[in-house]
Symmetry: C2
Subunit: 391 residues, 2 copies
DNA sequence: TTTGGCACTCGGAGTTAACGAGTGCTAAAA
DNA sequence: TTTTAGCACTCGTTAACTCCGAGTGCCAAA
């Protein structure tokens, strides 16, 4: 059972450890945090906190260090989310300039900012586009033998890809092909489009079948490629700035894991489909549960920003990252289509600050995406009338 | 003056040091490399090599370590370039698959292979496109307010960019605009195209000026963006695999420098405009010079592959990288338009092997680019007749 | 010119001792 | 019942010291 004083002590220990990276002792604690009791009292409390699983001792004669459970409780119960400073807000906003007209750029840029603001490596995954639908497909002749396929997905996402085509194919053929595919398939979910559907759609096009098939195949690949989940990792080098990675065997296993793109991407995207946070610390003390729930209700940020998620230490089920924490938030392209942006680092993180930063960056990113979607809208424009001209 | 025996000893020392990363002593050397003389003799030779500047002592009672000049001599005089093993060749070739239809992809992929093959971080810069010319520009309506600008440069390079446009603009307008820009500006060098030239070119287009100007501006930005030099860095994490970077202060300063994109890109691209390698070791002994030159003439790889370049230690003028070596080769998109691909790591490198690898990868990349440029050419294709249909 | 011999250097590994921050426990005080 | 002062004990860290051995430089003999 966490009494108020225990919480206070737990918070103080974590706050301090997070900054200094050294086990914190009872004497130091009362001195520095004016706890108003003697070190002996604190020692007793700490001993109990340890028994409850919130703290650990590196060895007998050292101070205490938070455990996974300790961090978890800190985040769920004790977290004090301060607003991001105006300076930081300005800095973050200034990173997004007006020349970024693609969601991809915005998202990648967010990863940059996030890494820079937090001094940790950042990760972003693109949304899962497979259940969005095809809106347009254009095939643009670049030169004989070479064309550009432009695929537009329903939320306004544009992807393109160079293809090689038979020399015999003319611009008009491409036009025809793409128009007919678009006519027949636009509106279909991406994951329902197959080579067969496409071939069927274009069967009447008056182009020799051998040539046609090659173009269709490339078009198909382009569509499939559009639904690939993309992962960006930024700022891995900042890892070395943190003392837990002086031990370069750790740093190495971290980097090795992180660079196996598939693994992390898989993990994150699987995660994305969940929408509830982990259950809190496992406890079957009803009183404690009640208290946790109450606190949760009272933490406004959890309501205002239900999108952030924290995984601590063992909660991350990827080998090589058991000593890490992973903080992410979901950004949205539409209400249904969301990706995830986050940082990863040692468990010893300034959770409050980092969560605030990530929330704010995420918020800004959402804004930017919305603004993008809302179309051209410059200040110097006379945009009194709103147009609804659909093609 | 480097006698044959001195060379032999220098080579042995470097060969050994490069592998074991430990100062090599005289006794060990005669044992292992069967030099056929006593350790005392070798000691004398080593002492002289040190006086000549080819070797250094970490401290009195340690063995010798190569100096920058030592490595330089090794590369210029002693290098033994073995062909890349068949296994490696196969591996490298298998990295390039048939679905990469853009030079950018090929180049980036080369960086991956290179890093993987050498176990060092790799760097690539794109060519300087500013003195290539504009070939095509297309503006494709995606939806009201949003369009895709596709810029094709003379060597067949395609770049595109989303832009936002006034809602009033229609597909036909875009067509008109892009066609007229293309008509008037195609063939012009990129760096001669300015906002003014573009505006002048499009002055007769029957679109309200305010709207037109916005589109022109975006088109201009797109063209300018196409000439940006791009830099890719891959595999920085492999740095930690090398003992010189255990000292993470080194690793950090390295990574910090490398991640200041502007700096390295600037350095590499400036370098690209040079086409001669550094002068050899500074010596004014005419005999020595003569010998160096002769050796150089006799090193066939320097002739066959004049494109690779090595910078060792202090020869790199970027702060933070004084302890590194930088090996690069020039890949070509056309004979005039070249970029650079390379690896960077500690001075202690297996130069012979790495240069071979880089040469081979570079060669493969050139092949792939050529093949791309030659257009569609599948095996199952009946490509008996060669077409020359220009648009 | 080469080589065996020998004194000398110096970093690294291992040992020991002192230090001190921190704990746990007990008994007295509040 | 809770808090606190006191004290013995633990244990990692640091510094000083020693020893070892790989390696050098130099000299005198081959």
């Amino acid at each position: 059972m966490l009494t108020e004083r225990k919480r206070q002590i737990l918070r103080a220990i974590i706050d301090d450890y997070v900054i200094h990276a050294e086990p914190v002792g009872s004497r130091y604690l009362v001195d520095k945090y004016k706890l108003g009791v003697s070190s002996a009292t604190v020692r007793n409390e700490m001993s109990e906190l340890e028994e409850l699983g919130y703290l650990e001792k590196p060895h007998t004669s050292a101070g205490r260090v938070p455990s996974d459970k300790g961090y978890r409780a800190y985040i769920d119960l004790l977290l004090d989310l301060k607003p991001v400073s105006q300076t930081d807000q300005d800095k973050i906003e200034s990173f997004f300039n007006d020349h970024m007209n693609e969601v991809t750029d915005l998202v990648r840029q967010s990863a940059n900012v996030l890494s820079e603001q937090t001094n940790f490596p950042s990760l972003v995954i693109s949304p899962r586009y497979s259940d969005t639908s095809l809106e347009q497909i254009k095939i643009l002749m670049i030169e004989p033998g070479k064309a550009l396929v432009v695929v537009v997905l329903s939320p306004g996402i544009v992807k393109d890809r160079m293809i090689r085509i038979p020399h015999e194919i003319k611009q008009d053929d491409l036009h025809l092909i793409s128009r007919i595919i678009e006519q027949k398939l636009s509106g279909q979910k991406l994951d329902q489009i197959t080579l067969i559907t496409i071939s069927a759609a274009a069967e009447d096009v008056p182009v020799p079948e051998a040539l046609l098939n090659q173009v269709l195949f490339e078009a198909y690949v382009s569509i499939k490629q559009a639904e690939n989940i993309e992962l960006y990792i930024q700022g891995t080098h900042r890892l070395l700035n943190h003392p837990e990675f002086q031990e370069l065997t750790l740093a190495r296993s971290f980097l090795d894991t992180i660079h196996q793109e598939g693994i992390v991407a898989g993990y994150m995207s699987e995660w994305e489909s969940m929408n509830a946070d982990l259950e809190l610390t496992e406890t079957n003390n009803p009183e404690e549960i009640e208290q946790l729930e109450r606190t949760r209700r009272e933490q406004p940020y959890l309501k205002e920003n239900p999108s952030y998620m924290v995984r601590i230490g063992q909660e991350i089920t990827l080998k090589g990252l058991e000593e890490c924490s992973f903080i992410t938030a979901a950004y949205k392209i539409t209400n249904k289509i969301t990706g995830r942006i986050g940082v990863i680092g040692p468990r010893r993180m300034e959770y409050g600050n980092i969560i605030s930063q990530i929330n704010f960056i995420n918020y800004t990113l959402d804004q930017q995406i919305m603004e993008l979607a809302s179309g051209y809208d410059r200040k110097e424009d006379i945009n009194g009338k709103e147009k609804e001209e659909q093609a």
